[in-house]
């Protein structure tokens, strides 16, 4: 049962990932990315990483992909215009990926991997365990990384707001419009 579910989820993750890189319309590609991330969240559930599956759905699908969709709607990018040497670019990218995958397949010791046992007690992926590990200061805790992450997120928030804000001249014109009583 577990195996059937895993193969189903893996197949759908791979198929929708292929769609995400091959669909011409970027909005459709973003929706295919959403499907692929959903399937990988299912794989995490099968691996008893419930907290991670939850965070994956909430942050990736509910946050990042929705953000991508917002930006696509805001910027209205035209579908990919196939110019004269697109075949060259696709061919070179395909060759690079093929070389990378071949290198990977010949350098990984597959025989040793397959006799590793699935060892997990039901506690280890749970919310309690992960929360304790995130907030303890002992050797096995991750409190420093956790706090640094909050600083990083704050910095990214401020940076994104200051990069994406309208320039000062735009703001001036908006203010003069406001003072003349125009509605936005």
């Amino acid at each position: 049962m577990r195996d059937i579910l895993f193969y189903l989820l893996a197949f759908s993750a791979l198929a929708s990932a292929l769609l995400a890189v091959s669909l011409k319309e970027v909005l459709h590609a973003a929706l295919a990315l959403m499907a692929s991330l959903f399937a990988s969240a299912g794989i995490f559930l099968l691996l008893h990483a419930e907290l991670l599956a939850l965070a994956h759905v909430l942050v990736y699908i509910g946050g990042v992909v929705v953000f991508i969709v917002y930006v696509i709607l805001l910027t209205k990018p035209e579908g990919e215009t196939r110019k004269k040497n697109w075949q060259l670019q696709y061919g070179l990218a395909g060759l690079t990926v093929l070389g990378f995958l071949l290198l990977l397949f010949f350098s990984v010791p597959w025989k040793n991997l397959s006799n590793q046992k699935f060892n997990v007690n039901d506690e280890s992926g749970s919310l309690t365990e992960a929360g304790l590990r995130l907030l303890t200061t002992s050797d096995s805790g991750f409190i420093l990384a956790f706090e640094l992450m909050s600083v990083l997120l704050l910095m990214a928030l401020i940076g994104a707001a200051s990069i994406a804000k309208k320039s000062d001249s735009d703001l001036d014109s908006v203010q003069s419009d406001l003072s003349k009583g125009k509605s936005l």
Binding site: A20, P77, W110, E129
Partner: protein, 103 residues
């Protein structure tokens, strides 16, 4: 479901993401490729933490950090996309030469 099949899936996902990053010309489409690659790396982390004699809680916690870093990265990248669109209305990667020092 064993470790090898998980690693195979994650390697193929990474390859697909790499292809998307290299082949697509729209900035947002290239960012979608980056998302796929990061997702593949998360699958790898969880898989290694679940098989063999390893610390079973460290993998998912580390993956949570990757998720946080990815969302920060996407926030800044999409802010750049919005700013670029405001300046030039052109989101193709080969036309982004404004920062390059050529006359």
């Amino acid at each position: 479901m064993n470790l090898a099949s998980l690693l195979l899936v994650s390697a193929l996902l990474f390859g697909i993401g790499l292809f998307g990053f290299l082949a697509r010309r729209n900035i947002i489409a290239a960012l979608i490729g980056i998302e796929l690659m990061l997702n593949a790396s998360i699958i790898n982390l969880v898989a290694f933490s679940r098989f063999g004699h390893t610390d079973a809680a460290a993998g998912p916690v580390f993956a949570l950090f990757i998720i946080a870093i990815t969302s920060a990265e996407m926030a800044v990248a999409l802010a750049l996309v919005v700013s670029l669109h405001r300046k030039s209305h052109d989101l193709r990667l080969e036309n982004l030469t404004k920062l390059r020092d050529v006359q």
